[in-house]
Structure formats: structure tokens, C-alpha cells
């Protein structure tokens, strides 16, 4: 309850339309525009990668050339011109890269300060280790020492390729194969950086691991690659949050996140996504085409996705769970807010393979302005998933009469002993509620934020405390100007 009790001050405190719309002036070292085998080789070379990884990238690139664009999502945008983008840019720094915060470009640190995440204070303040991704290169990692004591590896994936090649090689692409879909395939070919996490057997990660992603250089597609492995009996909670500067051109973001939970392991993955959504007329904004998937490989393992999606011009994202181990559990808690001209097609897939596997889906969609939002979900019960259970709750809230909410739940059940439940509601924000709040002195905008936060409460409660506060603020900001 505490997190929600604090909602309102937070919502009130924030009044700016898009607080994080600024561009930092940092010289970037950039590969030439366009995409080719040479660019893939250039990236691999820049990263000083082993031969097997280059081969893996090239294979992905060649396959990508043959793949069609996914057309099934309920989103509409002009065809992407892949040759009109840059695929590599890195902040200029010494050849070895910064070894500590002191070596980090001061401009960069200023940017983080504007975002409210002063790295230097992170260590003292939040007890959160931050692996900060700025453009494509991870520039600072804190708390490493404390984590290393427990044998936890938390580092940029490029570093893991150098220092822990056996782990990367074993798990990279094992949950999301390079050829999974067009966007994931592109990522496999040109990913520049991202986070790598390994939690050893029986270790409970003592702090929330957190990465702030940020897109900065103009026209640079972002291809983050995240890989998290929770070994037997371990636990980790990972937070991902994003903000972006204001700009006109569309920017493609095609990230891949892979999670692997072994026997009795648990991974909690939380996202707050508030990238630039474009202006009121749909000009600019990020294309967020992300592939996130977790494999519950071990018995009694658990993967829980929580997402708060308020940003991006277009969101195409289905964090999923493959419930392979017996008694494994998958969860998906989602709040998606679209306003103005935003489009979102998001949901989850729960693939039940093991016995007595359980999954729970709670999706809250809020559409305002002229936005279009789709929940798209798949619950698949395989013949061997004896005793599998799923419960899906899917609620849509409409604000105004020009937006759209769509629900597309697929259920494939091939086991007679399985129980699959689906509940869905669609409602409009009610005049009665708004008037009741206003009669008590609460302004129209605060009333909307209050009612919508109530609507999302079940999901927001799943977030770690520090994220819940930010998420509640975002709910208010994202819906400013949507009523009245």
C-alpha cells in the first residue's frame, strides 16, 4: 500500500510535458550510414570480438536480408529505410575506456544528473548498481565490487564477451534465436551493447540491478542486447528504465532481452519505458520494436515481467515466458498508456511445456487522444503440460472518443487437464468520477491521474519501490491534456 499512498504528491510534483527532452553535446565516433556486412564486421572489430561471435552476427545479418517485415501487428508506419541509419556510435574516450566514474566524460555525467540519476550518488543513495548505457557503449558500472564478492557478474555484455566468453556463448541466442523475427535478427547482427548478468548458484542478489538506457546521437538506431542468467536457487530483480531527448526523426530501437532461470531460480524484470512519443501530431518519436523472452528452464523456476509503457511513437513488444521446467511460474504485469498519436501493440506469450506450470497475466491498457492500443497475448498449453494453469485479466480504459482499444487473446490448449481463464473489461473514464474528485477540490488533471493510478494499481504494486514512484509520476505526465 505504501507506494500507492505516496502517488499523489509525486504526480502533482511533475508538471513539465516532457521533462527529458534535451540533447547532450558529446562528440561521437560514428560508423558510416547504412547497413552492410562491412558494418557488421566494423562493429565486431570495434568490440574486439572473438571469431565465433562475428560468425554469429554475419549469419544473422544474411538471414535478416531474407526476412519479411512482420505485418500482423495493429500498428501503421511508413516502411523503414535501414540504409538511412547509423549502426554504431560511441562516446569518444581513451582507448581502454573509462575505468571509474572520474574518467567518464563530464558532459555525460551532467546528462544523468538532468535525468535525476547522479551516478556519483547512486552508490550512497539507492543501493542500486547502475550499468549506464549511453548510446551504444556502457560507460560506467557501479557497485561492481560488492557484487563481485558474491560472485555476481553484472557488466556490459561487450565486457562479458571478453571476460566470460563461455557463458555468453552458451546462452546468447538460446532463448531468442537470431532468426526469431526480423527485428531480433537485426539486433543479433548489429547489437552494440547491453547488460550481462549472471547470478551464481544459491545467491540472492543483495540489490536491485538497474540499467538506464538512453538514446542520444541523432539517427542512431539502438540495438541493446541483454542477457540474464539465474543459476540454480538464485534470485535477481532487474530494473530497466528509459528516457530520450526530443527530436524529429524517427528512431528505431530493436532490443533483445533474454532471461534464463535454472532450477528453483527466480528473475524479476521490471521496465519503465518513457521514450519520446512524438508530438501531438505524431511527428517524431521512437519506434520501440523489442523482443523480450524468458526461459524457465529449471524446475520450480519463476520469471516475472512487469512493464509500464508510456513512451515511444510505436511499441511492439511481447515479453514472454517459456515454462519448460515442471512447476515453473510465469507472470506478466503490464500498464500501457498511449496518448495523442501513439500506437502500441503489446502483450505476452506464456508457453506451457512442463507439468503443473502456472502463468498469470494482468494487463491494463489506457488509451487517450487519437491513439490506438492492442493487447495481443498467447497462452499455449502443450500436450505434456499436465495440470497447467493460466489466469488472464485484461482491462482497457478509454479516455475521450477518438482512441481505440483492441484485445486479441489467443489460447491454444492441448491438454485436457489444464485450466485457462480469461477475463476482459473495457470501460471509459467516467464523468461521475472526475466530477466527484473536482467537487473535492482536486483539479481535472490530478483527478485523471488519480483515477488511472487506481486502475493500474494492481500492476504498479508489483514494481520495486523506487520504480513505483517514477511510474506513478509517468501516469500523470503521459495523460496531461487528455481530458477537457
Amino acid at each position: 500500500m505504501a507506494a500507492n499512498v505516496e502517488t499523489l504528491e509525486q504526480v502533482q510534483a511533475v508538471t513539465e510535458k516532457y521533462k527529458y527532452g534535451f540533447v547532450t553535446d558529446i562528440e561521437t565516433e560514428t560508423a558510416p550510414k547504412g547497413l552492410s556486412e562491412d558494418i557488421v564486421r566494423f562493429i565486431s572489430h570495434k568490440k574486439n570480438e572473438p571469431e565465433w561471435l562475428l560468425a554469429w552476427r554475419l549469419k544473422a545479418y544474411r538471414h535478416w536480408l531474407t526476412m519479411p517485415e512482420p505485418q500482423w501487428a495493429h500498428v501503421d508506419f511508413p516502411p523503414l529505410d535501414y540504409q538511412d541509419s547509423y549502426y554504431y556510435s560511441a562516446p569518444k574516450s581513451k582507448t581502454d575506456g573509462p575505468k571509474s566514474l572520474e574518467e567518464v566524460d563530464p558532459e555525460l555525467l551532467k546528462t544523468y544528473e538532468k535525468l535525476g540519476i547522479p551516478l556519483k550518488e547512486q552508490e550512497m543513495l539507492a543501493g542500486v548498481a547502475v550499468d549506464a548505457v549511453f548510446d551504444s557503449v556502457s560507460v560506467a558500472t557501479t557497485f561492481k565490487g560488492k557484487l563481485e564478492e558474491q560472485g555476481i557478474i553484472f557488466c556490459p555484455i561487450s565486457e562479458a564477451v571478453q571476460n566470460h566468453p563461455e557463458l555468453v556463448r552458451q546462452y546468447l541466442g538460446s532463448v531468442v534465436p537470431a532468426a526469431d523475427n526480423k527485428h531480433a535478427c537485426l539486433n543479433s547482427a548489429v547489437f552494440t551493447d547491453g547488460s550481462f548478468v549472471y547470478i551464481p548458484k544459491g545467491v540472492r542478489c543483495p540489490m536491485e540491478l538497474s540499467t538506464y538506457f538512453r538514446i542520444n546521437a541523432a539517427n542512431t538506431g539502438q540495438f541493446e542486447r541483454t542477457l540474464i542468467i539465474a543459476d540454480a536457487g538464485s534470485y535477481v530483480s532487474y530494473l530497466e528504465g528509459c528516457t530520450a531527448p526530443m527530436r524529429d526523426e524517427h528512431q528505431l530501437h530493436a532490443a533483445v532481452v533474454e532471461l534464463v532461470a535454472l532450477d528453483d531460480a527466480e528473475i524479476k524484470y521490471s521496465t519503465v519505458q518513457n521514450w519520446y512519443p512524438g508530438d501531438e501530431n505524431g511527428v517524431g518519436g521512437i519506434y520501440n520494436f523489442v523482443t523480450k523472452r524468458g526461459a524457465c528452464r529449471g524446475h520450480n523456476s519463476k520469471i516475472s515481467w512487469t512493464q509500464v509503457e508510456t513512451g515511444s511513437a510505436i511499441t511492439w513488444k511481447y515479453p514472454s515466458c517459456i515454462l519448460q521446467g515442471d512447476n515453473s511460474v510465469g507472470e506478466f504485469y503490464s500498464v500501457a498508456i498511449t496518448n495523442n498519436m501513439q500506437q502500441a501493440d503489446t502483450g505476452t506469450k506464456m508457453i506451457h511445456l512442463g507439468k503443473n506450470t502456472r502463468s498469470r497475466i494482468v494487463s491494463k491498457g489506457i488509451s487517450a487522444g487519437r491513439s490506438q492500443q492492442t493487447y495481443r497475448g498467447l497462452v499455449k498449453i502443450s500436450p505434456k503440460a499436465q495440470g497447467a494453469r493460466n489466469h488472464t485479466q485484461c482491462d482497457s480504459l478509454l479516455i475521450g472518443d477518438l482512441c481505440g482499444a483492441h484485445t486479441v487473446p489467443y489460447i491454444e490448449c492441448r491438454n485436457r487437464g489444464a485450466v485457462v481463464e480469461h477475463e476482459a473489461t473495457t470501460s471509459k473514464i467516467s464523468e461521475d468520477q472526475l466530477f466527484y474528485c473536482r467537487q473535492r477540490g482536486i483539479s481535472q488533471e490530478d483527478a485523471v491521474a488519480l483515477v488511472v493510478n487506481g486502475f493500474c494499481r494492481e500492476v504498479l504494486q508489483q514494481l520495486p519501490m523506487e520504480f513505483a514512484v517514477e511510474a506513478q509520476k509517468l501516469v500523470g505526465i503521459s495523460l496531461e491534456g487528455s481530458v477537457g
Partner: protein
């Protein structure tokens, strides 16, 4: 405190109030009685500024200000409180959060510093004790799953917390058993003060046994057709509204 002159209002193009005059002095309790459809609830919504209730003629002065020009939240900030006939449910929002948000919003209008959660909780605890509101009402979502009596008690609790100058009670007695009615009336009576006015809107005389009004008005066809002292309510109880509606037609 409140001066209504020749008020005409329409809802969906239909005339509901047709030249209503009413003056309430500071510290006075007035009751408006009338049959269904006489315009009682419309009056409360017009005074609180609900959308869709259009004033076509007349004026309303509240503490010397033109009330009709103000937004609903400004009116609340200036001390106009409406206890709803049908309090609205807000799922997922804890009652405590809602109450604090409301109190702080009104404090801002008054230029008072807002209360932090701990300070507010102290104020709230004192009030619920005074009004005998059960603890669990605070933890539950606003009005969700509340019984009729609980909803009305919650309205009175809000009134006590917001400390209004003009309280309008719209059929606060409807749906209450006799015990709940007494508690609610006690809450209202405890708030009677020289600088606070109360407008009680009701069908029945019953509530006025507990909240004794200074003046009673009969509303029919959108106008006050008769005014008198508290004994007028008793007379109405005997004769019914028939005579008045006929008179006004």
C-alpha cells in the same frame, strides 16, 4: 453567505429550475423539500458546478463572489461542499489517499500549507474517532463495496475534513437506517457554527427531526413555492406535496 436570484437552469435543453430565489445567511441551516422531479438535485449540481447543468438566467452570489463563474474545484476550494446522494466509486484508490489529496487540494486554495502523510494521518485518526467511522473504511478503495450507510458516513467524514463554509447535503438520508441516520445527523450538528451554512435537501421530514433547520422551503416545478420555519416540515408530512404542486402548475 449564499444569495440565489431568479435562477433558471436547463438539463439537456429541458427547463428544470424556473426562477428560484433563496438566501441563506451565515450560520443558518435551511432545508429544501419537494417531490421527485421538482429540481432538488439539479439545484445541488448547479451550485457545485457540474457540467451539463446550464444556467440560462439569474445569478448566484457566494460570499460576495459570482459562484457561477467558478470551476467546480475552485468552488470546493472556496468552501462549497456537496455531500452526494450517490457517492462515486473509484476502484484502486485507497480512501486515505483520496481524502488526503482532497484535503491538500482545498488547503492549497486557502493558502494553507499541505499536510504530509504522517501529519494528515493524525488529523484523520482524530476525525474518524469523533465520527465513529470504522477504521477499515480508510484502507478500502473509495466507496467501492461500501454499504449505503458507509458511503454516507464517508461523505460526512469528507465534510468534516474539508471544513466547508457552505455544506449542501443532497438526500443524505436516503438509504439510511435509523441508527446511521442519527450518526450522520450528529456529525452535521457537530459542525453547526456561526460561520458555516448548511443546505439540507430531502424528501422526508424524518431527517429534520435530527437536523433541526432554521428555515424550510418547498420546491415545486423549479421554484420555491413556500417558505417557513421548522414547523412547515411537519405540516408537509401531514398534507403531502399535492397542494403545492397544484398551486405551482
Amino acid at each position: 453567505m449564499l444569495e440565489i436570484k431568479n435562477l433558471h437552469a436547463t438539463v439537456g435543453g429541458k427547463g428544470i429550475l424556473n426562477g428560484l430565489d433563496l438566501t441563506i445567511g451565515a450560520g443558518e441551516v435551511h432545508a429544501i423539500m419537494g417531490p421527485n422531479g421538482s429540481g432538488k438535485s439539479t439545484l445541488s449540481y448547479v451550485l457545485s458546478g457540474r457540467e451539463g447543468y446550464e444556467v440560462t438566467e439569474g445569478e448566484v452570489a457566494y460570499q460576495g463572489r459570482n459562484l457561477l463563474e467558478m470551476e467546480p474545484e475552485e468552488r470546493a476550494g472556496a468552501g462549497v461542499f456537496l455531500a452526494f446522494q450517490y457517492p462515486v466509486e473509484i476502484p484502486g484508490v485507497p480512501n486515505t489517499t483520496f481524502l488526503r489529496e482532497a484535503v491538500n487540494a482545498v488547503r492549497k486554495y486557502k493558502g494553507a500549507p499541505t499536510l504530509d502523510p504522517m501529519a494528515f494521518l493524525k488529523v484523520l485518526r482524530a476525525k474518524i474517532k469523533e465520527l465513529q467511522v470504522p477504521d477499515d473504511l480508510l484502507k478500502r478503495a473509495v466507496n467501492v463495496g461500501f454499504s449505503g450507510g458507509e458511503k454516507k458516513r464517508n461523505e460526512i467524514l469528507q465534510m468534516a475534513l474539508l471544513d466547508p463554509s457552505l455544506a449542501i447535503l443532497d438526500e443524505t438520508d436516503s438509504g439510511l437506517d435509523i441508527d446511521a441516520l442519527k450518526t450522520v445527523a450528529d456529525g452535521v450538528n457537530a459542525m453547526r457554527a456561526p460561520d458555516r451554512s448548511v443546505l439540507v435537501i430531502t424528501h422526508y421530514q424524518r431527517l429534520l427531526d435530527y437536523i433541526v433547520p432554521d428555515r424550510v422551503h418547498v420546491l415545486a416545478h423549479g421554484r420555491i413555492v413556500r417558505s417557513g420555519g421548522k414547523e412547515l416540515a411537519l405540516e408537509l408530512e401531514k398534507t403531502g406535496y399535492a397542494g403545492f404542486t397544484g398551486e405551482a402548475a
